[in-house]
Symmetry: none
Subunit: 184 residues, 4 copies
DNA sequence: GTGTAACCGAGACGGTACGTCAGGTCTTGCT
DNA sequence: AGCAAGACCTGACGTACCGTCTCGGTTACAC
């Protein structure tokens, strides 16, 4: 049975204002400088409204990620039949996004958030492991299902590693990792 | 020519006390709760002594890593002739270290620190990419030099990814990623 | 029209706790050793609560003075008809207060505070210049109104001077200054 | 018998540099902002040299006062035969000195220093109580010796009071206090 | 309609940590 | 042994946020 209750329901407007503000501030200042007070200020929302609905900074970001307010792009992997070429091309596109003014900061921030909240790690993996039908193609390629998952993680992990080291991945690097992971 | 100056020199005792305290507190409380004040307290050192010599929390950790106060283990990759088996065995050993009471927390903390300080990312890569002569063996295996580097990063990145997602890597997972990266 | 605002009001309890703590610590340790942190600690109040409402140490003392938490005594000048005798007697009483265990320290502290905050100087003048109807009597005595003010300041200034020099005023000294200022 | 000792004697150059620096900084920044470190820096002197020879900030100022580095002016009271006129004229001159750019700050600073060190109070009294032969003239005027001292203190105290209250003394005020203290 | 209970914005509260400044002591190499 | 330089530990500074709380105002269902 549903619980019936008087009074107003949760304000969708406030919820969206918070998520938007959080996403904006994250891109501008990085995770370390993302404070609840700043989010409340930017969103013109009382602090209590935030504490009422979200248990942590990371929870806000998780929701913002799920709402598509961060990493909005749905980068699909094309299918030309050549898996290596498709993956290489897809990774290049992902990198061009991350190299945009605040892309690096954003990814670094999300990694930081993930250290506090595994769910964010999973969301990042999903965004960075080229999941659009790739798995089936990897399996079709000859690798068993379990390897398909691991290969996705390796791709995502490799990209994270580059960002954490402040490295700018070269076309050669991308080609090499794809060749190593997906034998022609 | 050396610069000669009168007056007291930097206190090696204070330096080591700070690094030790930082390493201990990191393992106990995680990076988010690692404060300069706590380090100073634990090390019986004035805050100013820390601010005089280190520009940031992350810089302290970098130095502690380099001094071998964190991840002390020198996990060598054995050479039985079978690269896949050697790597698999090495990764399992690394994992058993990370699964020790504070291993996971430590790695997560270092990832968080790396988001603020790329040098820490590089140090982690070195510790996690099985660099002891592996590169030569990978090259001997048929992959070009560039791929050897990328494969190392992929291994390290994959492990970081598992930790961030809170996943406990299975023997199957390890075997799969090694198979994917190092064709028999 | 009054300004209406939602939200919590200023806590009177915190305000009084701060003023009381400040007065106590002043009497115990002197102005030089009166720190905001000690006041906050003693009053069980956050430092920010102090900084929110008072711009300086001296402002806290001013308010404490006005609230009668320092120099609580309302030392009235009696009127026996003999102005010289009344003033002499009043100054002796003031001195006995200042000679009490912490009286000297308190006055010295207030002088120190006054060097940073003229308003405290004015409050001290009021407390030390025997203003209760004296002015009218001085005027009635033959001195013009302006001189009445100056005579009050001279009395207060003389007492401050004695305290600053660490001197213990003698009955003779008091009698002499009263005679000099108020011709019989 | 004199104690013979090896090694260099106290450096007069360092001593004067410290006193000069202290006097300059006092006039510029006020007593509250006069720090040992700033004096050492300004005087190009090691902190230890200061701590070796002076027990406190106030002791430095006392010595600087005695050396005539502060309130250098020797304001003499003239003798035209009219004591009231002479005192009034002298006080006006003192005030014009105190009203010079840093005069007020200096006096306020000295008062603050006196709260920590009675000797400074006495030095100020000497400078501000018109001691040059005035005492004899006051006595000759008919007041007993003790009153002469008190009258001097009252003059000095009155001036301090004006400075502490941030008041600008008017010619009328000066005339009034002189008339009150020195009956024609 | 009218309670009434939960929502909302604002922001004060007791705290913790920040990064800086100065205090007073100690150490080093020079003169 | 005095000196300039400056590292050391200590502790206060004034600021930024934390997470909790208290206000007045505003819905929106339940009676």
């Amino acid at each position: 049975m549903e619980e019936h209750r008087a009074g107003p329901r949760r304000s969708e407007q406030a919820r969206l204002a918070v998520l938007t503000a959080a996403a904006d501030l994250l891109a501008q200042n990085g995770y370390e400088n993302l404070t609840i007070e700043a989010i409340a200020r930017q969103a013109s929302v009382g602090k209590q409204t935030i504490y009422r609905w979200w248990p942590s900074r990371a929870a806000i970001l998780t929701e913002a990620l799920l709402e598509g307010m961060i990493f909005r792009q749905q980068l699909a992997v094309r299918n030309t039949g050549d898996l290596r070429r498709d993956l290489t091309e897809w990774m290049s596109r992902v990198w061009s996004v991350l190299d945009a003014p605040q892309g690096r900061m954003l990814l670094r921030s999300l990694v930081a958030a993930a250290t506090e909240h595994p769910a964010i790690g999973e969301l990042m993996r999903d965004r960075l492991s080229a999941d659009g039908g790739i798995r089936a193609r990897v399996v079709a390629h000859g690798d068993p299902a379990v390897a398909a998952v691991e290969i996705g993680d390796a791709i995502a992990g490799w990209m994270m590693m580059q960002v954490l080291m402040g490295a700018a991945p070269t076309p050669d690097g991308i080609r090499a990792i794809v060749h190593a992971l997906v034998p022609g």
